[in-house]
């Protein structure tokens, strides 16, 4: 079962839950030609048809002679892709055939393949997407090719639908479910002791990541991890007089933004986290044992209790105090 199919089973459920009253539903009917042709034959036929350019005599009117009865088909006109009065809409150009390719002999019984989209299309995601990408080429999608989702053969239509007034994946509530249906690790992460407020959809994946790919690491929306974090945590941006180098370098040196068993999304709690880098002579190099049978307890001293190292080194993200070198002021 393909990832696209997985989304197929999920999206309708999500949509029904979210917008039950709209009566949107996917019908999962494979195309007629798939019963008679192999996917390679379908693709070869489509390539040939596309090159020949046998478009219909009357455009959408030709198509709707048969397909006009389908509510799903007609729902196109509720959305922007069906807006005939916009010069940028497919309906203002080759109409239905902008996306589904030239009609050719398809009108004779519907046996000849057309370009089909979504979970039941046997056409490769790359070929399906070439249609969408020919218009949707901009700075938010320029890294699609060779990007994470492209490599995973995710089709645009795996997540998006155009035959609707409102694409459900663009809603915050459904977005989380769609992303985590494949990204299960992140689904678990957001349920940990601390995480960004993803669990209740106050934040969503696309606040930080662009699912269409970017030129940055992990498809982040800004050029670097820290610049992405600064978009909301501008107080940490500085530059401050006393910088804590690993903080300035990369927030994820200490934090896991997807969630952690520790408070504050820290990878490890203080003092251990701090002692992974600080072993100078004195209190930083001591072993802090916590609860022992000798009578010490983890909450009984300032090195492990309270805020641990931060009891004194409160300004761990950097200090702008003239006397802030040790991040105490």
């Amino acid at each position: 079962m393909k990832i696209t199919n997985k989304l197929k089973s999920l999206i309708p459920a999500v949509i029904t839950a979210a917008v039950l009253t709209l009566g949107v539903s996917h019908s999962a009917i494979a195309s007629k030609w798939d019963a008679k042709m192999t996917p390679d034959e379908v693709e070869a036929t489509l390539d040939k048809k596309f090159a020949e350019g046998q478009y219909s005599p009357k455009g959408a009117d030709s198509c709707l002679m048969c397909h006009g009865k389908s509510e799903k088909v007609m729902d196109l006109f509720k959305g922007v892709h069906g807006a005939a009065n916009s010069s940028n809409s497919p309906m203002a150009g080759l109409q239905c055939e902008s996306c589904h390719g030239p009609m050719g002999k398809h009108n004779r019984g519907g046996n000849e393949p057309m370009i089909a989209f979504g979970p039941d299309s046997t056409l490769s995601a790359e070929k399906q997407n070439s249609v969408c990408m020919s218009c949707h080429q901009d700075d938010k999608r320029m890294s699609w090719n060779g990007g994470h989702h492209d490599n995973a053969d995710v089709a645009c239509a795996s997540c998006h639908s155009v035959h609707t007034d409102k694409d459900p994946v663009l809603s915050k509530n459904t977005e989380m479910e769609v992303c985590t249906s494949c990204h299960t690790k992140q689904k678990a992460d957001m349920n940990k002791r601390s995480s960004h407020p993803m669990k209740w959809a106050q934040m969503v994946c696309s606040d930080c990541h662009n699912p269409h790919g970017t030129m940055s690491d992990s498809d982040l929306v800004k050029p670097s991890v820290n610049e992405t974090c600064y978009a909301c945590h501008a107080e940490k941006r500085g530059p401050k007089l006393w910088e804590h180098a690993p903080v300035t370098e990369n927030c994820v040196t200490c934090h896991n933004p997807h969630g952690s068993v520790n408070e504050g999304m820290l990878k490890t709690r203080a003092p251990q986290l701090c002692q992974q880098c600080h072993a100078s002579d004195g209190h930083a190099s001591n072993a802090y044992m916590g609860n022992t049978e000798q009578g010490s307890s983890v909450g009984g001293n300032a090195f492990t209790g309270g805020r641990s190292c931060l009891n004194c080194h409160n300004q761990i993200h950097g200090s702008n105090h003239p006397s802030g070198k040790l991040f105490q002021r």
């Binding site: 299960t184 992974q276 003239p322």
Partner: protein, 699 residues
């Protein structure tokens, strides 16, 4: 997939390898490549195109009752008080001439409310107004003896008696008051975009975010510390604007992004609760996050030449900070009134993706990112905490340059069989660090098999090694560090990762997924510091459409992260070790039943459970542990939606959260540690309920 392959044909295809069907390679079905020579547009009247005009959509209101003894439940319920109300809307307006407007409101009136209004003409212009609120709650029972909470000046009561130990502060308990630690963000934005005919478009957005509340901080004198409530009153203004140009096979964009951060409070002054020690300080001052600005300009472009796509981006940014220094109680000369801090950020990204043939696609990229801190280096006298006079220190403006090169290829061995492999190189060059340069080389591969009907599976593996220039442990640190210490972000490291995932649908209605991941970071040259970190996880999920009306799904995840580190109390070879074991279990399940009561009623339940725990053990001769550090939470949402009339639907939600956490290091009285005045124990243990009745009306 209707096209079935059995094992034999699969093997045949695999052997045939690259010589699959002899179909000419096409670039796809992009509109630019469409052969429209024969189209007779004058006959394309689109008479059957039924464009709905007017207003459509739904509006809704809801009222809720919230029963909670702990403000922390507001994270889940978005309600602070006993009663809550909300407005939802999802409205669209379409005019005959192509004007469109939409209003999308979610939970407006609640703490997580959002609103999005768009209006414009498709393909020409759009005006957007938006609002969004994010609130996070930590506790409402943090105990503090300080007065003036919420301001930048925290004072102790007049009758306060300082002492050498928190246990001896006679007025501590009578002065304690509870306070709420929570943070609220309110964001409002305005955006406009305009699309010119064919070639160009432009946009501008403006956003203001106000973040207010209280967060936990600590103020200290020598070795004595008080937990303090730091006031948060931030305003961040963001402007983004750009121009985009495009042609048939090229695209370019020039973008600007600017952000200005303002903190209402530049400093936090606090009374010393303890007897003054060195310097006889009775009051301390902390510098709060200073106002700052950041501006970035980027130029990006893409060119498609047949089956090769080339993309690039250059960006240049500057971050500045020039707020007057906090000098109250400092008592020394400062070399300047303010820092005049300036950091230049510059970057270049280049990427080429080229489909060689039907089977092979190659990609290569190069990234350069540079942070150049141009702030002046000056001498700064540090307030002394012992009997000696103030020591001078120099600031160390941090520079880092990162370069990355990636080479990769993917091979479509046959339909449903794909192999990817790649090599990644990364070099980091840093200033003022124990190690100037680190280099990391990583090889990775992924194989995906989706050729079998109803099965999809992939496996991915990677191995990387990081090393670099000579490690000099104490070059830039004022206090001498152990020579054997290797900071984990600079240390040599061997990183191994294997991940696999299988998805199976024995029948159309049932999907079962299983995934597992193993990752090991071996800091192979580290004796002191983090020596190893292992992360193992697996998850399984299933969803089953029992019939047209009933659906059930379940999810389980287990993750274990084990880390080991070593230290030395005698400034030589390791003589203590610690092991940190984290474990997380997450369970999720949901059931929904549609079309009950003559297709009018829908019932459902969603449940999640998560249990995070962490165990720290430190061994130096004897072994001690850090107690039971855990958080577990059950969430239930039961709902029923009834379609009362064609237009009107009613929905009833019952939500429950049962939450319990513990932090033994913080499970203490305000005077539990002799040299700390703490907020007291802030662990949680509650069950909160919420009932919400909402009504939606379809226009």
């Amino acid at each position: 997939m209707k096209f079935k392959l059995n094992l034999v044909t699969l093997a045949l295809i695999a052997n045939a390898g690259i010589a699959l069907p002899s179909i000419a390679v096409a670039e796809g079905y992009g509109l630019q490549n469409a052969n429209t020579a024969k189209v007779k547009y004058d006959k394309w009247a689109c008479k059957r195109c039924a464009i709905d005009t007017g207003v459509s959509g739904t509006v809704g209101v809801g009222v809720g009752y919230n029963d909670s003894s702990d403000i922390r439940s507001a994270n889940a319920f978005a309600a602070e008080d006993e009663f809550a109300g909300k407005v939802d809307a999802d409205l669209n307006y379409v005019s005959e001439s192509g004007y469109r407007a939409s209003v999308e409101a979610q939970n407006l009136g609640m703490e997580n409310g959002s609103l999005d209004i768009d209006a414009g003409k498709v393909g020409q212009y759009n005006l957007n107004v938006n609002y969004r609120q994010i609130a996070t709650y930590k506790t409402d029972s943090a105990m503090t003896p300080y007065q003036g909470v919420g301001s930048g000046d925290l004072t102790l009561p007049d009758n306060w008696q300082t002492a050498g130990s928190s246990q001896d502060m006679s007025q501590l308990y009578s002065s304690l008051n509870p306070m709420e630690l929570s943070l609220k963000r309110k964001r409002a934005g305005l955006g406009f975009e305009y699309q010119g005919e064919e070639l160009w478009s432009t946009y501008i957005t403006y956003q203001r975010e106000d973040k207010t509340g209280l967060k936990q901080a600590s103020g200290s004198f020598f070795n004595q510390s008080m937990m303090l409530a730091e006031p948060v009153d931030y305003t961040t203004d963001t402007v983004e604007a750009g121009v985009k140009l495009r042609g048939d096979n090229w695209f370019t964009a020039l973008n600007y992004s600017g952000s200005s951060f303002k903190n209402q409070y530049s400093q936090l002054t606090f009374d010393n609760a303890f007897n003054p020690t060195f310097g006889a300080q009775t009051q301390g001052t902390m510098a709060l996050d200073p106002d700052n600005e950041a501006h970035t300009v980027s130029l990006m472009g893409q060119y498609t030449a047949g089956r090769t796509i080339m993309s690039g981006r250059v960006h240049y940014g500057q971050m500045t900070q020039d707020q007057a220094f906090v000098t109250s109680g400092y008592g020394y000369q400062v070399p300047a009134e303010s820092l005049d801090g300036k950091v230049d950020i510059s970057g270049i990204n280049l990427k080429v993706v080229s489909r060689i043939n039907r089977t092979v696609r190659l990609n290569a990229s190069y990234d350069y990112n540079d942070r150049d801190n141009k702030t002046n280096v000056e001498e700064w006298t540090q307030i002394s905490i012992d009997a000696t006079t103030g020591k001078a220190a120099y600031n160390t403006p941090y520079d880092i340059t990162t370069q990355r090169a990636k080479l990769g290829a993917d091979f479509r061995l046959s339909r449903g069989m794909k192999l990817e492999a790649g090599y990644d190189f990364r070099r980091d060059e840093r200033s003022y660090q124990d190690r100037e340069t680190t280099d990391e080389n990583t090889l990775w591969t992924k194989f995906r098999l989706s050729a079998f009907d109803n099965w999809d599976m992939w496996i991915k593996g990677s191995y990387g090694e990081r090393d670099g220039s000579t490690y000099q442990a104490s070059e830039w640190t004022s206090s001498e560090s152990n020579d054997l210490l290797r900071k984990y972000n600079l240390a040599d490291r061997k990183r191994t990762m294997v991940e696999a995932r299988i998805s199976h649908s024995p029948i159309d209605a049932l999907t079962v997924d299983f995934g597992a991941r193993y990752a090991l970071d071996d800091y192979n040259d580290t004796q002191i510091g983090l020596t190893e970190s292992k992360d193992i996880s697996y998850d399984v999920s299933a969803s089953y459409l029992i019939n047209d009306d009933m659906m059930i799904n379940a999810f389980y995840n287990r993750q274990n992260i084990d880390s080991q580190q070593a230290g030395s109390t005698n400034f030589s070879a390791p003589n203590w070790y610690s092991v940190i074991e984290d474990q997380v279990d997450v369970i999720g399940a949901g059931f929904s039943y549609n079309n009950l009561l003559e297709k009018k009623l829908r019932l459902g339940v969603d449940y999640t459970y998560s249990d995070s725990s962490s165990n720290t053990q430190v061994t130096q001769g004897i072994t001690g542990d850090y107690g039971d550090y855990y958080a577990n939470v059950h969430n239930i949402n039961v709902y029923g939606q009834y379609q009362a009339t064609d237009k009107m639907a009613l929905r009833l939600d019952y939500k429950m959260e049962n939450y319990k956490d513990n932090d033994p290091g913080n499970q203490i009285a305000p005077d539990g540690i002799w040299n700390v005045v703490s907020f007291g124990s802030n662990s949680h243990n509650y069950t909160a309920h919420m009932v919400m009745l909402s009504m939606s009306y379809k226009l």
